[in-house]
Amino acid sequence: MAEFGEIVDATFVLSAEQVEIRKYGFSEILFSGTPTVYHVGDVINLPYASGEISTMQAVGLAWGAFASGVTPE
């Protein structure tokens, strides 16, 4: 079961070997570190629990406040 904020449908997952051989262009500068958190094309799992302010609700609050002329703190 995916946890909150995890990617549930990844565009691709680089293997350790792929990460190891990644290069920028034709230079010999090796990329270090692990691939970044999100990739283009990912699908995220955001199941907000009851009582939490979900992204859906927050967007609604923002638009509702905007209509009333209210700006964030």
Binding site: F4, T34, T36, H39, I44, I53, A62, W63, F66, G69
Partner: protein
């Protein structure tokens, strides 16, 4: 052809023949884009060219995740709204993807994606606090009408952000209209399914449907989804378009990926380049074609009440963007809010739907097996019917054209096409392939070679010049060319796009907060 003099009625010149490989930003206004004309086989405004170039960019730019800046945007809340301690903050996850370009002084176009799954309908509750799955679906030839569960009425309308009630001069708003919706949540709080997720009760894949939300009826709770351009993930794990069945009853909807780009092709804006001032006879200042101009409509970036158009700002600064429009008729349809010059709250740039970017047209026949649907693909020209005469000749009895709007609500630039390729949902091929059949292979090879050559030069130039800290997101997110894009991408009012909301991730996946001086690991 030499120039010929005309009569006293005027001088008639031969129309310029477009250069095959010179693809320019789309400028056509009244034809709505890229229908190949009858005079020339080359149309440099072709969406197909963007689609094809997008695939090359996908192969070069996105596959290695270079210039990729993942982020979480923490949505600021109105005063008085408190996030319960220990709970997850409302956030919009996404990625900025840089595309090196040879045609821009900064050396980079920035495209952004808001990840699919950001907004989930299982977080919507009716007045009794019950979740609202899909209750039923009806359909006609062109649309599905999805009934959301709940006792909706004029006094108990659909909740925000599906519907924002009118307040004073601000009329009804439907910010989610134009979003892509997918029925990928099976139970409240459940994980989003994908094409391969198997239903444990049937041991078959769930499958799902993706379609664009056209309109929302707040009093009945009916969402109108468009069949055309819909995508279905079948029980075989195959993606097909258009979908052959409606969204599943009992499921919860999520929003699909949302894209935006800072390039002039997507924004339909011209940029002026300081480094070429005086070097050639190109125009020195951005100007807008008369047909595009919305008289009096403009944006104002201000910092503490003072106009501020600087490209880069500190990560602790929040500028204000006001979209000024003299009257509602100058808004770009379909309009969510008619801004007026007298309303200081007109801070949005048509976020529900992107600026009119032209539709893509498909020359194809309706599919007899799916009423109302037209299959995507290469154009067919079986647009007439004949009868055979006794002597063996044929007589045309009817002529019919099958130009129909295709697929997405907007036409994308090549950068967004590249990101759609990365989404694994192979973006359907636009039907306006811009050349005669006999020249297509050579033309395409030339196009690919040119894209690769341009891209290599752009990357080289960028390497020589280098990106400064302030040239990358989120530091440049308040630049005049970026701020409208940010608001469109997040689909929240621009006053709710604050620098303090950005949480970036470095190459090691470690989060940092630029507004408090955070920086990526070296």
């Amino acid at each position: 052809m030499a120039k010929k003099s005309g009569s006293s009625f005027g001088t008639f010149d031969r129309s310029p023949i477009p250069e095959v490989n010179k693809i320019l930003p789309i400028r056509t206004e009244f034809s709505k884009g890229s229908v190949p004309n009858s005079l020339y086989s080359v149309d440099q405004e072709s969406a197909w060219s963007r689609w094809r170039r997008g695939f090359e960019l996908y192969c070069k730019a996105t596959i290695n995740q270079e210039y990729s800046y993942p982020f979480d945007y923490l949505i600021p809340l109105p005063p008085g709204t408190v996030i319960p301690p220990g709970s997850n903050p409302p956030k919009i996850p996404g990625v900025f993807q840089g595309f090196p370009t040879a045609n821009k002084e900064l050396g980079m176009h920035w495209a952004g994606v808001r990840l699919a799954g950001s907004l989930r309908f299982d977080n919507i509750r009716d007045k009794d606090g019950d979740p609202s799955p899909i209750l039923s679906v009806t359909e006609d030839d062109d649309y599905w009408y999805v009934q959301i569960s709940g006792d909706w009425s004029a006094t108990n309308p659909l909740p925000a952000p599906l519907f924002i009630p009118p307040v004073g001069p601000i009329p009804k708003q439907y910010p989610i209209n134009g979003e892509i919706l997918e029925d990928r949540v099976v139970s409240v709080g459940g994980a989003v399914i994908n094409s391969q997720t198997i239903d444990p009760t049937t041991q078959k894949r769930y499958g799902y449907v993706q379609a664009v939300l056209i309109s929302t009826n707040e009093t009945t709770g009916v969402l109108k989804l468009q069949k055309q351009g819909s995508v279905e993930s079948t029980p075989d794990g195959v993606l097909r378009t258009p979908a052959t069945r409606p969204p599943n009853v009992g499921r919860y909807l999520i929003t699909g990926a949302r894209y935006c780009c800072s390039c002039q092709d997507f924004n339909r804006r011209d940029f002026a380049y300081m480094t070429t001032l005086g070097q050639n006879n190109k125009k020195l200042f951005p100007r807008t074609r008369a047909a595009t101009a919305k008289p009096g409509r403009h944006e104002i970036m201000s910092l503490r009440g003072v106009v501020d158009n600087s490209a880069m700002t500190d990560a602790t600064v929040n500028r204000n963007m006001q979209v000024v429009s003299p009257s509602p008729q100058y808004n770009v349809p379909p309009t969510v809010t008619p801004n007026t010059s007298t309303d200081a709250r007109s801070l949005r740039d048509n976020p529900g739907v992107y600026r009119d970017f032209g539709n893509v047209y498909l020359r194809n026949r309706p599919s007899p097996s799916i009423p109302g649907a037209v299959a995507d693909g290469m154009p067919t020209y079986d647009d007439y019917s004949t009868v055979t005469n006794p002597d063996g000749s044929h007589t045309i009895t009817s002529l019919t054209d099958y130009w129909t709007p295709l697929l997405d609500e907007v036409r994308y630039c090549k950068h967004i096409y590249a990101m759609k390729f990365a989404e694994k949902i192979f973006p359907p091929e636009p039907s306006d392939i811009p050349i005669d059949a006999e020249g297509i292979v050579e033309w395409e090879q030339d196009l690919v070679a040119k894209v690769n050559k341009d891209n290599e030069k752009a990357v080289y130039d960028l390497t020589v010049r280098g990106l400064s800290t302030m040239d990358v997101p989120p530091y440049n997110c308040q630049a005049p060319m970026m701020m409208p894009m940010m608001q469109k991408l997040f689909n929240v009012p621009s006053t709710f796009v604050l620098m303090s909301g950005f949480r970036m991730f470095d190459k090691n996946g470690t989060e940092y907060n630029p507004s408090t001086g955070g920086s990526p690991a070296s």
